[in-house]
Symmetry: C2
Subunit: 318 residues, 2 copies
């Protein structure tokens, strides 16, 4: 049997975090113990440390090394990873959206179709934060990401700010995550210019398979291009609060992402916070485990808080 395939199987056996005796392994791989020892040695040469123990109940086990060995996944694990990455890519964890999309693109590229269906089925069951539903369809995101990577042309329908829908043909350059939203920079073929698009406004994206040589972006990088484009847009919703208590006391009671309370007098703090979803901001304020006073807030925010209050009232008064 082919040594390459055998090494991969050995790796996959060792990755199950189990203690394997030499006999078990050589039995499963259908080779002599001597060959197994050589295979283990080969793995070590490749940089994947296999720990061994001798004597009664001795055997082999894979340990953490300096590089990551090829991950051999079964169906379920692959689905779990895909689902986890999708939520992460949608901003559930801040700071790794872009990497999540990259990893997801890599996985998606090789994911058998039967598993894709399972991923989708599970993603539907994703528990969303109440009132916070605005997110991109990960499939759209993936199509864009793969078109970027493979420098393929992309055709899609785009809903502009004013609600008008157009059909576009572009050469996507890069995806960028900003403020819990996905944008991408692309060369608009019809208009002959660089444009920034919001991924959540893209419908029916389709990579037509036409490969084109990558273009040079007239900016330092895609992120700064998007930032420049965004600078002229309206700000998301913000609020300023006065909280009762010292900064010390409030630490741990104010969620991390809301920002740091700043001392303001002996027994109160100022909290300057914001979010780009109104309902979400309202809930977060109402859930603050502290005596709070709203110093600044748009009328919409006040309206959202009032809505929340009214609903809670209706529910508690029979």
């Amino acid at each position: 049997m082919d040594p390459t395939a055998r090494i991969l199987r050995l790796l996959s056996l060792l990755q199950t975090y189990r203690h394997w005796s030499g006999d078990e392994l050589s039995g499963r791989l259908e080779v002599s113990p001597r060959t197994l020892r050589r295979d283990v040695e080969r793995l070590r040469d490749l940089g994947y440390p296999v720990e061994t123990s001798r004597g009664t109940y001795g055997g082999y086990q894979l340990a953490a090394g300096t590089q990551i060995p090829p991950l051999l996944l079964d169906d379920e694990e692959a689905v779990a990873i895909a689902v986890g990455l999708r939520t992460a890519a949608n901003g559930a964890v801040s700071g790794i959206e872009e990497t999540s999309v990259r990893a997801l693109a890599k996985l998606q590229q090789v994911l058998p179709t039967r598993l894709r269906r399972r991923v989708e089925a599970l993603a539907v069951a994703t528990e969303t934060v109440p009132g916070y539903t605005e997110s991109v369809d990960p499939d759209v995101l993936m199509t864009i990401a793969q078109a970027c990577r493979g420098s393929e042309q992309l055709r899609f329908h785009y809903t502009a700010n004013d609600g008008s829908e157009t059909s576009r043909l572009v050469e996507p350059h890069r995806l960028v995550s900003r403020h819990r939203r996905w944008y991408f920079v692309a060369w608009d073929v019809d208009r002959g210019a660089w444009r920034t698009f919001r991924a959540d406004r893209v419908a029916r994206p389709f990579a037509n398979g036409v490969r084109v040589p990558p273009r040079e972006l007239p900016a330092e990088d895609a992120a700064s291009f998007v930032d420049t484009a965004l600078r002229s847009r309206p700000q998301p919703f913000t609020a300023v609060l006065r909280l009762r208590g010292t900064a010390e006391e409030l630490r741990g009671r104010v969620p991390h992402w809301m920002g740091e309370p700043v001392a303001d007098g002996t027994d109160s703090c100022l909290l300057r916070t914001g979010a780009d979803n109104l309902e979400w901001l309202a809930i977060s304020l109402a859930m603050l485990d502290a005596e709070a006073e709203l110093l600044e807030g748009t009328p919409e925010l006040v309206a959202a808080l009032t809505r929340l209050r009214t609903r809670a009232e209706r529910l508690t008064v029979h």
Copy 2:
């Protein structure tokens, strides 16, 4: 150079979702084009479909097949996957917690220490749902999972229901996720009996490296054992609501995980829902985009709703 290593490098190049010409690939791998063709053939034999195109701008690309090829990740991607799986394992996505833990255990086992630190740093920055913070430390979960898998003894400190803390030595059998919580079944060595523990009440778990032959659990499987143990516990919080509107109208406005509204009369529905976190349930009810009436709810739930109302009131009245 070793063919095994070369095949892995080839796989890693192909996984970047790019179009590679034969010359590029054979150049990178430092072999002749003929050998590259043979390597590609070998990949195909292993079941990983490599698509090719001929003619000008021809080349190779990895496609989705029937099985998942070994995933070759760089540092950042591995971190993103680990973080994504941690959130998924903590119940952010329902239904795949157990698989996420399994995949995470596999990854964790081989994750270099430098990356572990990065995963932890990022996990701290995880945005949590306001008011919903009860979760297990993923490191604790991992230690337990790996002790189960490797049938190692585990020592830890456990906080019982009444708050008393004890030190335990057990042989862990299996992790089980139920109702957004993690439990595990283990043979308690000191007490000589099977016990169910809650993972979030475990502190300082330590696998002492002592391997023991697996014991047989006196139940069909671990999940049913946990269910039996849980049956005598108090139920999580529940509520029954009457919503205005037909089932048709309410579909899409009621979050999936809350359950299905059931028609009750011509223009109203009954919704029977529950959660095991009081604050979370209260928010979810208050955020329902429908005219609602609370038919049944424990006094605690009413109190939580009142708290929410009061806070929203304070914020809107200056």
